[in-house]
Each structure stands twice: as C-alpha cells, then as structure tokens.
C-alpha cells in the first residue's frame, strides 16, 4: 500500500499562471480531503469528497480555487491566476468512509511556490 500519493511534490508558478495539484487516495478509501498549510495560518481545511461527490467546500476560497474528483482514483485541486499568497503546502488525505473511528491518512503534500 503506497499511501496517499500527491504530485508534483514541488511546483513553482509565476503570478497569474494556473496550477493543478493531483491526489491519488488509498485504494478503497471513499473520502478525500484537501488541506493547506502556511506559516501564518497553520493547517486549514479546504474541501472534502465522499464517493466522488463534493460534501463540504466551506474552506475553499470563493474565487480561483476549484476541486474535482472525476473518479475514485484521483482528485485535483486547481488554482487559477495564482497569487503569491497562494504559496503553501497543499495536503491531501483519504479515509475509508470519512466517518468516525477511521482516521484520515495524509499524503506528503505539494509545496506550491508562486513567484
């Protein structure tokens, strides 16, 4: 079991460019979560899918950010017109169902740097 796989590990973009981050959850896990980590804000929830359906996107910035889960084997987080304040480590996690007693497991993250 390879764990949650996130690609790329590092991404550098210029201001105004688009960035797409990929997450492959653990096989058989139906819940996928996205979080963001910065020095200032710490670890923040972004969005969550269960069985590929969006369940909670309350942490997503209203503009420029979107997430999809087109099939059970991957999810993407897309940031349009990236800004320097989007620089962060983006973490993906998966769990068997997203419900209690089943701890989510995290990937190693994608470090996004916007110049």
């Amino acid at each position: 079991n390879a764990g949650v796989i996130q690609t790329p590990r590092h991404k550098v973009t210029g201001k105004g460019q688009e960035a797409t981050l990929w997450c492959e959850p653990i096989s058989g896990h139906s819940a996928v979560f996205w979080y963001r980590q910065t020095i200032v804000q710490g670890l923040e929830f972004l969005t969550y899918f269960r069985n590929q359906a969006p369940i909670d996107d309350s942490g997503m910035p209203k503009e420029r950010f979107s997430a999809q889960m087109p099939n059970q084997s991957h999810s993407t987080l897309k940031i349009q017109s990236t800004q320097p304040q989007d620089s962060a480590v983006y973490l993906c996690a998966s769990s068997p169902t997203g419900r209690g007693n089943q701890a989510p497991l995290f990937g190693e993250g994608t470090r996004l740097s916007v110049l």
Partner: protein, 111 residues
Amino acid sequence: GDQVEQSPSALSLHEGTGSALRCNFTTTMRAVQWFQQNSRGSLINLFYLASGTKENGRLKSTFNSKESYSTLHIRDAQLEDSGTYFCAAEDGTEGADRLTFGKGTQLIIQP
C-alpha cells in the same frame, strides 16, 4: 476565536525526560487526532481517539470530550521525537467530518 487551542507552542526537553502537550476545544468535538510532522513535512498519525486513553510505546494520549480537552504525553524523550506536533479535532456536528487543527507544538529534544 480558535476552536482548537494547543499549548505550549514550543517545548525543549532533554533526552530521557518527558512532558505533556494539551489541546483545549471551545466546542464539542467528536474525535481527536494527534500527528507528528517530521522534517520532510509529512504528517504522521500518532493517535485517533473518540474517547478515553490510548498508549503506544513512549506516547500516551487522552481525550475527554465532556471537558473538551486532549493531552499527549511523551516519556523518555529521544532525539527522533523532535518535530512539530499537531492535534486536530472532528467537529461533533453531523456531517462535519473535516479536521480543525491546533497551531502546533514545536518540540526540540536536546542531548
């Protein structure tokens, strides 16, 4: 204010000693999880508790949902225990499966 208040923000211990980290919650939480973030940035699961106490080696964690706090005890600290420790809690609200993280405790173990 923050739903998850973690303390201390930083802690220095000598090898072989121990201490406790604590998280207080300002709202009812369904479960708590403790992580160690290593130098590569990976979040390593330490404990997941819906209630009570769990122990694993030199680590022990307790979650008291009624009194809204959780603790992580480290004993006989080793150099490899250095890192940042986070608690994260699941909101007790139905359907709120997201984790709310504390700000972290930076733990330094000195020889």
